[in-house]
Subunit: 269 residues, 2 copies
C-alpha cells in the first residue's frame, strides 16, 4: 500500500526520468540521422559473428573458454551452463579502455556508436598473395573514389578473406618459426587517417587483431582506441556485405568495466 | 604458394559459398519484409539492456558472475578481464533448449528471429497495485484493439514497471516469508494464445521470469520455449518504447550449445 504522497513522488520522478530518457533516445536518433541512417530502408541481414566455443583461434597466451553444463532437462527439468571466458574471445570488441587507462569501457559506449553505417574495404585480392597485407590510406582513398566519402559515424571494416582459415586455428594465427604472427590488418597510417581525417566510430577486421600479425607496437590499436573509438576483431561473413550502404548493429558487451567482450554483430541493408 | 588448380578450386568453392550466403541473406530479408519491417525508417534508439555485474538480482540459487582482472594498462600495457557467469544472468535470453531437450540452442536461432517488430504491452498500472499481476489474453486483445493485430514475427514484451526495483535485488525478487517470489509475468493462457493464435518470435519481460513470481510449473516458459520461440528476461527501459512501431534488435548469444545467455537488446523506431 502506498500513501498518496508517495505515489505522487513516484509519478513525478517517473516523469522526470521519462523526459531524460526521451532526450537520450532523441540524441541517439540524431546521431543516426547525422550518419545518414534515418529514413533508410533495409531488407537483408547477415550475421557477422562466429560461433564462440573452446575450439576457436585465440591470441597466443589466452586461455580457451570453458562451458560447464550445470543442469540438464533430463536431470533437473531445465538446461543451463556456466561460462568462463577471456573477454577478447571470438568475434569481440576492443573498447578504448583495453589500451588506454581511464578511457571508456565497452558498457559505457553510447548506443549511437553501436549502430553505424558500415563501410567494407576489400583487400582480399592482395591478402591472398601477402598474409602481411594491410589496409593503407590509398585503399581508403580508392574506396572513397568508388563509393563516396566515408559517412560521418561510419564503422570501417577490413575484408581480407582471412575468415576461410577460422576453423583451423593454426592457419588463422599463421605463426612462423620465430613465433611471429602473419595475417592482415590496418596500417598505423590508415588508422591515423580514419580517426583524424574522417569521423568514424570504430574499425573492424576479419583477423585476430586490428594490427597486422607482425606488429610489435600495436600502433593501429593505440591510435584507434586512443581516439575513443572501438575495434571489432574476428568478424565473419564480410564478403556478403555490400562495400557501402549497409548498417551495422553491434550487440556489444554490457558488463561492468568491460575492456571488451564477445559481441553479436549484424549487418542489414 | 598455391598452384593454379588449387586457386581455381578455392574460387569455385568461394562462389558456391557466396551464392548460399546471398540466399540466406535474402531469406532473413524476406522474413523482415513479411514482418512489415522492410522499407521502414527509424531515427530513435533505446537500450533495453541492464548493466551486468556481480551485484544484479538473480534467480534464487544462481551464483553471481565473477569478473577477474587479468591484466592492466599500467602493469601489462593492456587491460582485460576473465568473465565467469551463469548463462541466465542480467538481461538475457532463454533459448527453446533451456526447457526442451533437443530444441534449438540460442546460437542456432535464425537471424530473422532476432530482428523483430516490437510490441510493448503496458501492465504497469495493474502491476503497481498487484505484484502478482499477469499479462492476460484480454490485455493482448485490448492492445490489438488500440494498435492493430500483432504483426507476423512480432516480439511481445511486457512492461510492468518492475525495473524500478532493479538496483535493489531483494525488492526485485520480492520473496515472501515462505520463500515464494512475487513479481509480474505472462499468464500461461496469454503465452498459449501468442504461440497458437499469433505468429510471434518470442516474448520478453522486465522481471526475472517469463512466468509470474508464484509460478511453480513455469507454464508460460514451457509453452513459449516448447513452441520453438525464445524469451528475454530482465529487459530495461521498456517505458521509453512506443507500444507499437519499434523494431527490436537482439544481440543474442552465439556460444556453442547456449541454453541462453546475456544479450544486448536495442529498440529502434
Amino acid at each position: 500500500m502506498c500513501a498518496p504522497l508517495v505515489m505522487e513522488t513516484v509519478a513525478r520522478s517517473l516523469s522526470r526520468r521519462s523526459f531524460l530518457a526521451s532526450s537520450l533516445a532523441a540524441l541517439a536518433g540524431a546521431a543516426l540521422a547525422q550518419a545518414g541512417v534515418s529514413g533508410k530502408a533495409f531488407s537483408r541481414a547477415v550475421d557477422l559473428t562466429h560461433e564462440l566455443s573452446p575450439e576457436i583461434p585465440l591470441f597466443p597466451g589466452a586461455e580457451p573458454m570453458r562451458i560447464t553444463t550445470l543442469v540438464t532437462v533430463r536431470q533437473n527439468g531445465y538446461y543451463g551452463n556456466r561460462l568462463d571466458l577471456w573477454e577478447h574471445s571470438g568475434t569481440h570488441m576492443d573498447a578504448p579502455a583495453h589500451f588506454v587507462e581511464g578511457a571508456p569501457t565497452a558498457e559505457k559506449l553510447p548506443l549511437s556508436a553501436l549502430i553505424a553505417p558500415l563501410a567494407v574495404i576489400h583487400i582480399h585480392e592482395k591478402a591472398a598473395k601477402d598474409p602481411d597485407a594491410q589496409v593503407t590510406v590509398d585503399d581508403i582513398l580508392a574506396y572513397e573514389r568508388q563509393y563516396g566519402r566515408l559517412p560521418k559515424g561510419a564503422f570501417v571494416a577490413m575484408h581480407s578473406g582471412w575468415e576461410s582459415r577460422w576453423r583451423d586455428p593454426k592457419a588463422f594465427l599463421n605463426q612462423d618459426a620465430s613465433g611471429t604472427l602473419h595475417f592482415p590488418g590496418f596500417s598505423p597510417e590508415a588508422a591515423a587517417f580514419l580517426v583524424r581525417e574522417r569521423e568514424i566510430v570504430g574499425i573492424g577486421v576479419d583477423t585476430l587483431s586490428l594490427d597486422f600479425g607482425p606488429s610489435k607496437d600495436f600502433k593501429a590499436h593505440v591510435t584507434v582506441l586512443g581516439a575513443g573509438k572501438y575495434g571489432l576483431e574476428n568478424l565473419a561473413n564480410l564478403a556478403q556485405v555490400p562495400p557501402s550502404g549497409a548498417l551495422l548493429f553491434v550487440g556489444g558487451p554490457k558488463h561492468k568495466g568491460a575492456s571488451g567482450g564477445p559481441v553479436r554483430a549484424v549487418a542489414v541493408w
